[in-house]
Amino acid sequence: MSMAPHSSTQQPPLSQPNRLEVTALDCLRGGWPVFSDLQFRLESGDLLLLTGPNGSGKSSLLRILAGLLPPAGGDLLWNEAPLHGGDSHPPSIGYVGHRNAIKVNLTLQEDLAFWARFHGQPQHRIAQALEAFDLTPLAARPGRVLSSGQGRRLALARLKVMQAPLWLLDEPLVGLDKAAVLAVRNEIEKHRRDGGIIVLATHQDIWHVEEQRLDLGTFTVSPDQLQELEA
């Protein structure tokens, strides 16, 4: 796959096809093996659902993809180049982890405005983002007054103020009411139509049929493999 010439100065626009490829990925946490020999490949428009019991490594995988946790082995490729640490231009990544990264003393408006500026995105996206997650009435209130679901919605709204082709969502639906769950599904569909790639960990089975699924419960490490990993 050849890189478009303009991609050297800025990230490829979402309309350009992207590919995320993961091969032979191993994960250790605190010396304990979590999963091993994972592989998958996602193209623009794909959504990968991570499922599996508690502790099977969904969050760990997402943090590895985000570059926050070093993998024990394996390769992560974005359009054939290393996703992290290479000299090429990695995609910007929209990551929503277990924690919401909310500052209690900033209003919602200020919070989103900061992240928009930080990512060099225009400010008009803020109002859209607030609206999409029904946070407009709370825009002028400080982060500290948010209920758990409202906080989660703010964390998700940040995805809309930044232009990231790759979204990594760790249980985005936690604590959301029904309207908010619908809003998230909407945004996800929109992002896919725009050519984005999404990896999403969840225990709630609200998606059906078409998506790719990866059950991390099936990648746990057997004693044999463990020996090999440690060798």
Binding site: V104, P137, P142
Partner: protein, 256 residues
């Protein structure tokens, strides 16, 4: 069972919302008291300033620098008095849960801090000619400095929380814990050997100060006192008005 289950709101429980607003009686009474205390303050301060700075005699030792006394001594008295009131307001909030206690304490603290600062500043100005230095680490001076920090801590704590109620209560606890400092300030001159002058006006029996200085001093002290009450009442009324305005704001927001 104290109360039957009924669908209508029991009046007693609705009453508890009053904790947050509408101390109507205070507003009425203070509305009458405030102009009087302001008027008396201006009168006393006017008379007192002319008397003490112009008419009262200069000291045979200190010369005109003794005139600092007419500001310094009342300011120091007010600093102590305001702190006692602050602690009393805190106690009324904590023990009797009187909401005005919190409003009063919040109103008193900066005014008391200002008087304390004034006592420190004038004392320091006076110290230069008298002791040859702006500042000595003597027990009285230092304990007044600590008093200033108690005031500042009180103010900081009051505003350190999202929940204003919580801030007022926490500050009330602090004010009560800090009361130990009052006797230390008052009696430091007797307990420790200090540079600072022992009580001469407020001591038991006849004051050891000449009447020509005593009267203007008392008039100034009265002026400070009335001024203090005027400012505190004004601040309390403003705080209550702000609470009402906030309530209105909320209603408008919800009405959208």
């Amino acid at each position: 069972m104290t109360r039957a289950t009924s669908t209508s709101r029991p009046t007693a429980s609705a009453g508890s919302w009053h904790r947050f607003a509408n101390p109507g009686r205070f507003l009425r009474i203070s509305g009458h008291v405030y102009p009087w205390s302001l008027g008396l303050a201006l009168l006393c301060l006017g008379v007192g300033l002319v008397w003490s700075l112009g008419l009262a005699p200069a000291d045979y030792q200190q010369g005109d620098s003794v005139r600092i006394m007419y500001v310094h001594v009342p300011a120091a008295w007010m600093a102590l008095f305001a702190y006692s009131l602050l602690a009393a307001a805190g106690a009324s909030l904590l023990i009797w849960r009187h909401p005005l206690g919190g409003v009063a304490a919040t109103a008193i603290a900066p005014v008391g801090a200002a008087f304390t600062f004034l006592a420190l500043a004038t004392g320091s100005l006076w110290g230069k000619p008298m002791w040859g230095t702006w500042w000595v680490w003597d027990a009285r001076l230092t304990s007044v400095l600590i008093l200033l920090f108690l005031y500042l801590g009180h103010m900081a704590l009051t505003h350190a929380f999202e929940n204003a109620e919580r801030g007022r209560k926490a500050a009330a606890v602090l004010a009560l814990a800090g009361v130990v400092n009052l006797p230390i300030i008052k009696f430091s001159v007797d307990w420790w050997n200090t540079l600072h002058q022992p009580a001469s006006v407020t001591r038991i029996g006849t004051p050891a100060i000449h009447e020509a200085m005593l009267w203007p001093l008392l008039v100034m002290a009265g002026g400070f006192m009335f001024f203090f009450f005027a400012v505190v009442l004004l601040r309390m009324r403003a705080a209550l008005a702000a609470q009402r305005a906030e309530a209105l704001d909320r209603r408008i927001m919800l009405g959208r």
